[in-house]
């Protein structure tokens, strides 16, 4: 065969070789004889072999969100494959794959059509080939469980008998999708593809990579944001057994902030290279450094919040509907409240690490990243490499939550590998991770509502002041971003409405954290709405439903519309599921909140008890989610459970405080997170519909904090306006 087949080439492999190729996923039973299997590559994502196995490339970074299972499920569905004869292989970074990143809950949204199109094209040529072989009309054929079926006659041909014919046919330009009501794979409770290796320890995360001749490294960075390296004595560090070299990582020497305003920069520091991770850690501990802090504002948390507070009165208007001042004068009453949220760290369980083998011809990278494209761009900018000189592997990632959108740790690794001419695995300690994060921005939010005779809102003002993640390190000369968007809820629902943003400069590095801006704004919005309900002696869910009004499409910005009916439905369902209307004994209470994010609608009720000593126990959480079609029920539920627990954890404990320009927290003892004994049962229900699937990683998170705060109020009468609830500061 020649390679004239439009990216489809025939690759000959022995069964054992193909078995080995995908050994991480499935083991093919190859019997005693080694029968050569021929693999037909129909597209960069889809291969079928003559044993009837379909190999699907999982192209997006798997960070624990289940995408390595979900995207192949979509392809398998559209192809009509037999899921039990599908092998899933993680793809490396490759421009040909498109949309190869993890963030903003976009992976399913952006890839739904991409995956279906790729698979429908292959289905098309299989049907054509079968039509010829069976002498049946294409319109009478369909694919199911790895076969082309002529349902009238019951005649069926397995894919493997059609490969030679099908691979000679050109893939069509346009395709028709399978009707969603005929789905066999999508929507099922499907265990993830790597389960066996996840429970027997075989899965190789990036931190587990080992290359021949590899050197281990760690970094010690100036704990003070914007600080420099200063003076250091490495005599003792060099005396540690196994230490090979000590290298200064100077931000400015390597071009400073690398990728534009919302991008990683290098924090100055000192790298220790050694023949084991432990020696590197030990060496770093022996460095004697006098850090240069002359470039730092030497901020403290109190001072930062004070500046946020002052900025509440000096803002830019981000959205203005009607006139809030008119409402303020004419309505029966006005009510205001101020809410505060802290900086948060990401603390993914796998600490920052990366392995780079920087050779003359190729820079080869193994990175736990959500954003391989940014990594490639960084390497291009930093070293003047061409894209074809860079190879990025995407091992499974031990959690990300937005932290690994930034590629600072990978850049450090590349610099070290290039410098010493050997493969380097860099591992940060947990302390470095917590002290050099891209934190969720802290903020102060002031809410003002004007209420008519019936207590309903006619005027709504939401003012947010903080240092924005969009200015990255918040140095002068950078455009101030906004942390409150014009499409924020309840835009479109209230006639007189105004959003304002006050920006403060800060050294604290800021970034995306799961649910991004809504992780802060929904806390203020839904705490406030419940406060308004209680002020008017109304049930918070009744009040919210009245606030939403009838089911309708509400214009928000441009042609962006808010489907109030879908939100109402999840609210009503969660009311029912949580037994909202059945009163609880004294000391117990329920709280409610809801949101729309990334096209999905979520409503949550948290039930708590609060004892005389103000100890809070979360008893149960109910969530109802409308994210359109659910691709993998098991994975989708996991995302909802995880998102809610993250929201609750952060609300209870999450807090990074700053003292003299450095983060005060350094490990899990002072950056607390929810544990088994505090984790409630979470009941999740999905609305069944046939609408295109929407994001799920983030939407469940934002309502958790206000629902918890509202529940604590219901149980104890204590109103929480400042997070975290159990602050130790």
């Amino acid at each position: 065969m020649k390679s004239t087949l439009d990216r489809r080439t025939f690759v000959k492999l022995t069964a054992s070789a193909s078995g080995a190729l995908i050994a991480g996923v499935y083991l093919q039973s190859c019997g005693s004889e080694m029968v050569p299997a021929t693999i037909h590559e129909f597209s960069p994502l889809i291969k079928i072999d003559t044993d009837g196995w379909v190999t699907l490339i999982a192209k997006n970074p798997e960070i624990g969100q289940g995408i390595k299972t979900a995207l192949p499920m979509i392809m398998a569905e559209e192809l009509g494959a037999d899921w039990d004869k599908v092998k899933v292989v993680q793809g490396d970074f490759d421009e040909a794959y498109e949309e190869q990143w993890a963030g903003g809950s976009y992976a399913i949204v952006l890839n739904w059509d991409l995956m279906r199109t790729a698979a429908a094209k292959v289905r098309h040529v299989l049907l054509q080939a079968a039509s010829k072989k069976m002498s049946k009309k294409v319109s009478e054929l369909s694919t199911i469980k790895g076969k082309v079926l002529h349902s009238k006659s019951g005649e069926a041909l397995p894919f493997e008998t059609l490969l030679l014919e099908a691979s000679k046919l050109p893939l069509p330009e346009t395709v028709e999708f399978k009707p969603t009501d005929s789905f066999e794979i999508v929507g099922k409770n499907t265990p993830q593809v790597d389960l066996g290796q996840l429970v027997n320890g075989e899965t190789k995360f990036s931190i587990d990579v080992k290359l021949p001749g590899m050197v281990y490294a760690t970094v010690l960075k100036n704990p003070v944001f914007e600080g420099g390296v200063g003076e250091y004595d490495d005599t003792e560090a060099r005396m540690v057994n196994g230490v090979i070299d000590i290298v200064e990582l100077d931000n400015t020497a390597y071009g400073g902030r690398l990728l534009g305003p919302n991008s990683p920069n290098f924090v100055n520091g000192i790298a220790v290279l050694a023949n084991s991770t432990w020696s590197a850690f030990k060496g770093a501990g022996k460095l004697d450094v006098v850090w240069d802090t002359s470039g730092s504002r030497k901020e403290n948390t109190d001072g930062i919040f004070e500046r946020f507070n002052l900025q509440l009165t000096s803002t830019a208007i981000e959205r203005k509907d009607g006139d809030i001042h008119r409402a303020r004068k004419t309505e029966a009453s006005n009510f205001e409240a101020v809410y505060q949220v802290p900086f948060l760290a990401h603390i993914p369980m796998e600490p920052m690490n990366c392995t780079v083998d920087f050779r003359a011809d190729l820079c080869e990278v193994w990175a736990p990243t959500q954003n391989p494209k940014a990594l490639q761009e960084g390497l291009i900018k930093l070293f003047g490499l061409k894209p074809e000189q860079i190879k990025i592997h995407l091992p499974r990632v031990g959690g990300a939550f937005g932290r690994r959108y930034y590629v600072d740790y990978a850049m450090d690794t590349a610099i070290l590998s290039k410098k010493i001419g050997k493969p380097v695995k860099l591992t940060w300690t947990r302390e470095e991770d917590i002290q050099h994060d891209w934190y969720r921005p802290a903020s102060i939010q002031k809410m003002v509502a004007s209420l008519d005779e019936s207590g309903m809102v006619t005027g709504w003002q939401h003012i947010l002041a903080n240092a924005s993640r969009k200015t990255c390190l918040g140095r002068e000369g950078r455009p101030a971003g906004t942390e409150i968007d014009e499409y924020e809820f309840p835009a479109g629902f209230v006639p007189d409405l105004q959003f304002e943003y006050g920006h403060v400069m800060s050294d604290v590095p800021l970034g995306q954290w799961r649910a991004v801006g809504l992780s802060a704004t929904v806390f203020a919005i839904h705490s406030f709405l419940s406060e308004l309900a209680i002020l008017n002696k109304m049930d918070p869910i009744d009040y919210f439903l009245k606030f939403l009004g009838p089911a309708r499409m509400v214009p928000v910005v441009g042609d962006d519309e808010f489907d109030a009916g879908r939100l109402i439905e999840v609210v009503q369902k969660v009311r029912h599921n949580s037994n909202w209307d059945i009163p609880l004994p004294k000391g117990k209470g329920r709280g409610f909140a809801a949101t729309k994010l990334s096209g999905s609608f979520v409503a949550e009720v948290v039930t708590v008890s609060v004892d005389e000593n103000e100890n809070v126990t979360i008893l149960r959480v109910d969530a109802v989610v409308d994210c359109g079609i659910v691709v993998n029920l098991s994975g989708a539920k996991a995302q909802v459970e995880g998102g809610i627990l993250e929201g609750l954890s952060a609300a209870l404990y999450g807090e990074v405080t700053v003292k003299n320009g450095a983060a005060e927290q350094s490990n899990f003892h002072d950056y607390r997170w929810i544990r088994m004994d505090e984790a409630p049962e979470i009941h999740v229900e999905f609305i069944a519909n046939n609408l295109p699937p929407r994001g799920l990683g983030e939407p469940p998170l934002p309502p958790a904090a206000p629902a918890l705060a509202n529940a604590i109020f219901a149980a104890s009468g204590k109103r929480i306006r400042k997070l975290p609830i159990l602050s130790t500061k």
Partner: protein, 154 residues
Amino acid sequence: MPSYTLTINATKRTVSADSDTPLLWILRDNLGLTGTKYGCGKGICGTCTVHYNGNAVRSCALPITSVLEGNIVTIEGLSEKENHSVQQAWMELDVPQCGYCQSGQIMAAVDLLSKNENPTDKDINAAMQGMLCRCGTYSRIRKAIHLAANKRNK
């Protein structure tokens, strides 16, 4: 560097390392047993949990010299072909999210079930309280421990 002999997953392994090297790094860097993970290095998170003489221990907090006498079992040595009842239960309930904490969780759960055939939720809370899961798989872990207990008691 001195050399030491350890019994890991029923096999004698000899390594040369500094005497203060934690077992965690011996497993990971010297022996390639990377199923045991580094999470905090301070005994707070439990991702590095292995068994020493049948008890769950934090390998990041144990210098090599403290584990020379007994038997060490890591996730790789828990079973052939992940057929331990706890691993089976974990798979049935699709417990892992990112998966990074799960070796430690499984080793802790096996330890619990070896001492308590039928743990209550309270027992599970007490035994697993030190095991951090950043992704929030706790409720599935709890269900999987009950399921594994049922499987064994059948």
